[in-house]
Symmetry: C2
Subunit: 480 residues, 2 copies
């Protein structure tokens, strides 16, 4: 290992020593975020924001391909509007930021900075939906929201975060449920195909549902340290909000009826999921689909005649097929290797005088540090293959980690034992459906219910906690 390489790596805490510190080290050293004097809020720096832009571009296309339209609602919600749906306000009011002064005047009614926008969409739907011909409404918006969290961590939990929130209105319950499930599938495909993060599709238990929802679907991922992370949620509201906001439409028989509603969201926390799923002790490992730089071209012995020119020529060729960049700075190659490993660039391409003589270059894939000599004539074929290889390699490693850390348990003491012996992970266990058992499992073993997976297995006939007949198999875990 080159000296410079060693130095930079020394700066990151080892993930095996202190996973939390390793995480924040990467956030800072890879220049994803910077702290600010605004408590609990962060600056998303160019490299971090470029990842988010790639996430946005892919998701936005998936939304548009499924007929959704983007809109933009105000960032403020008058207190009286937030209060219209009882469960909703109970869930969100405790974590709202309130604007009480505008200009130099005390406001007559305080405004909360949106923690989520169901109430605003409902008010709008009431204005624009009158007939069955106006349905469905398939809306989305890309905005930031605010939730007054006590303890915060970059990307994972911050007082302000960026997200998309889809809000749709349908003529029937069936259509709305179909939409809720369709968007869960969009999220699943996005995570697995583009972020290379395997997820479990499921439904939240009663106690864990979104405030005001009839059903909350979710996808759950397992991080490298065995903790679970909710990567996206999709809610079915029934006609609860429609009734609270008096949204009605006249159906084909000219009868006034209530429409059915959904909402679904994904956030910048996905960047946290990427870090904790794929990262290693050398830094970030980025899935090619969202990596700001997919191939970094590093000239070796760049002072020698023809090296920079050749590297530049290769980079120009690569720019036609991927996001490529050349680093011709005066830093040593070793420094550059460490720098772009830290930043998780999927492929490094090295080219020096010897390589040029042999009409070849060296390609190193970030996740496994595998070196390959590649003919310069074959770059256009090999690079896309390698990018696909990286995606598959990190997906399989994440899947393997999850499988290794998923424990089937049929009794409470098995849960405790599994966690003690193997470390944190997913627990698969049966459940009677009673909230008291959910609470008790958490109290005794420390793991909470993550979801009722859509793919059920009959692991046993009785609840892991009380021994009464089991209703569902549940995934349990400690969560971010």
């Amino acid at each position: 290992m080159a000296k410079e390489q060693k130095k930079m790596v020394d700066d990151i805490t080892s993930m095996d020593e202190d996973f939390a510190k390793w995480y924040t080290d990467i956030c800072k050293k890879a220049e994803l975020v910077e702290y600010t004097s605004v408590k609990g809020c962060m600056v998303i720096r160019p490299y971090g924001y470029a990842i988010w832009e790639n996430i946005q571009n892919i998701l936005d296309k998936m939304f548009k391909d499924t007929e959704h339209e983007n809109v933009c609602m105000p960032m403020f919600i008058p207190e009286s509007l937030l209060q219209k749906e009882k469960d909703h306000v109970e869930g969100f009011a405790p974590e709202c930021a309130w604007v009480t002064v505008g200009g130099s005047e005390q406001l007559e009614e305080r405004l909360c900075v949106r923690p989520t926008s169901e109430t605003l969409f409902c008010e709008h739907f009431k204005n624009v939906v009158h007939s069955y011909r106006d349905l469905p409404k398939l809306y989305n918006q890309w905005v930031s929201v605010v939730r007054w969290e006590k303890t915060t961590r970059p990307f994972l939990r911050s007082r302000e975060f960026l997200w998309q929130e889809g809000h749709t209105l349908h003529a029937t319950a069936e259509e709305a449920i179909e939409e809720t499930e369709k968007m869960l599938n969009v999220y699943t495909e996005f995570c697995q195909k583009y972020l290379a993060i395997p997820v479990v599709q499921g439904m939240k238990t009663e106690s864990d549902k979104f405030a005001g929802a009839e059903r909350t679907y979710c996808i759950e991922a397992l991080m490298h340290d065995g903790k679970a992370l909710q990567a996206g949620t999709s809610h079915y509201f029934g006609d609860g909000f429609a009734k609270a906001f008096e949204i009605q439409y006249s159906d084909k028989e000219n009868k006034l009826v209530y429409p059915h509603q959904t909402s679904w969201g994904m956030t910048t926390r996905l960047i946290g999921a990427i870090i904790m799923t794929h990262g290693d002790n050398n830094g970030l490992v980025l899935p090619p689909a969202v990596a700001p730089i997919q191939v970094i071209v590093v000239p070796v012995a760049q002072h020698k005649e023809g090296v920079l020119e050749k590297a530049d020529e290769i980079c120009s060729r690569l720019k036609k097929i991927c996001r490529a960049k050349m680093d011709a700075s005066n830093n040593t190659p070793g420094w550059k290797f460490a720098e772009y490993e830290m930043k998780g660039v999927p492929i490094r391409l090295e080219i020096g005088p010897k390589d040029i003589e042999n009409n070849q270059c060296v390609i190193v894939t970030r996740h496994n540090r595998e070196k390959t000599f590649v003919s310069l004539d074959e770059l256009e074929t090999v690079i896309p293959q390698k990018l696909e290889e990286v995606r598959n390699g990190i997906y399989n490693a994440a899947l393997e980690n999850r499988e290794r850390r998923t424990y089937v348990c049929t009794a409470l003491d098995e849960i405790t034992k599994a966690l003690e012996e193997n470390g944190d992970g997913f627990i698969k266990a049966m459940w009677c459906g009673d909230e008291a058992c959910e609470d008790k499992v958490k109290e005794i073993t420390g793991v909470g219910s993550r979801c009722i997976p859509l793919e059920q297995e009959q692991l046993a006939d009785t609840c892991v906690c009380c021994g009464k007949p089991a209703k569902h198999m549940l995934y349990w875990g400690k969560a971010y």
Copy 2:
């Protein structure tokens, strides 16, 4: 005119009768915005937001082509941070919205919802800029900001609006000034080429500068009614903010020096500018570059065999070269004509049984309602030409309107007379540089100074107001 067409047009106030009402009618009827219970804030509906997305895409590419990177700062600014630069806080504090409560607790320090983000960028620059090697920093962000306006109008003046704000930091004053001017040119090209809005480039007078700026450059456009609209601004800050925030870097001689700064912004008010520059009594007229639908395909006698199939085939062909849509709904062709005229779609393509027989279609350009018969074999050539024709047609009409409404005046009573005789417009007149004269001109004639144009003319030797020697030619006007 078909009956349905007449009906929809009747719903818009004539622009000659009441321009302000015509404007809000279009905002509503073209489904760009909807009001909300959040005073002074609006919902940007799908059609309005799609225009903004097109604006964003073009501008964002222009920013990236000039080496700028996107970031995201918090939406809150602690009061003490806002106060660091004296002029800046004086300018913005009176129109801030203040968060005073977070969750259930009174905050120790109130936070303003960003009206602009110079202070946050400065804090960040201080953290990440240490050496000349860290410069320049060329940043931009796409966010919304809040200014507590008393009277509001959709797009033109609202309490929350969407914008981009560029913030850059440079080693020298020269570089920073160069950047300020470069971005003014980017804005100018964007307005003229893509929005088809001619603009005057200039500099604000002392009294009209951005709070904290040394120089404020701007582009000014003239609306259909003769009122001026500021379409974009670009500010040079010198090292004032750097000093207030103690941002220093070590230069090549290892001396600590202050860097120089710029910021520049464009907002959703551009949509207001589009409406008021190009719109007419039939509704919106959209510049092709930002029109969500560039060609609307309307089948005529669509119940007849083969019509819908042919229209669909044409639409699929068009989708490869532009944003095309077919309307196969059960509304009459006349209704559809009026609908898409209202929405400002640049080109309507009509196709009926007779046309199919003759292997042709009818093309109608929105801005001049010109009809052309076009062979179906030539669509791929003709449509791009027609779109370019529309852009040029509406640009020239806007330019002609501005020229017709620009009055050269050398005395105060000439200004009054010009406005009385010809209606509102730009006044070109000389100025001594004294703020008292600026105020007096406004008081007596009603027009304020818009900018000191970069292209100066020597219209006279003396100030239009006081008769003392003139320093600059100014553009004056009533402004949105």
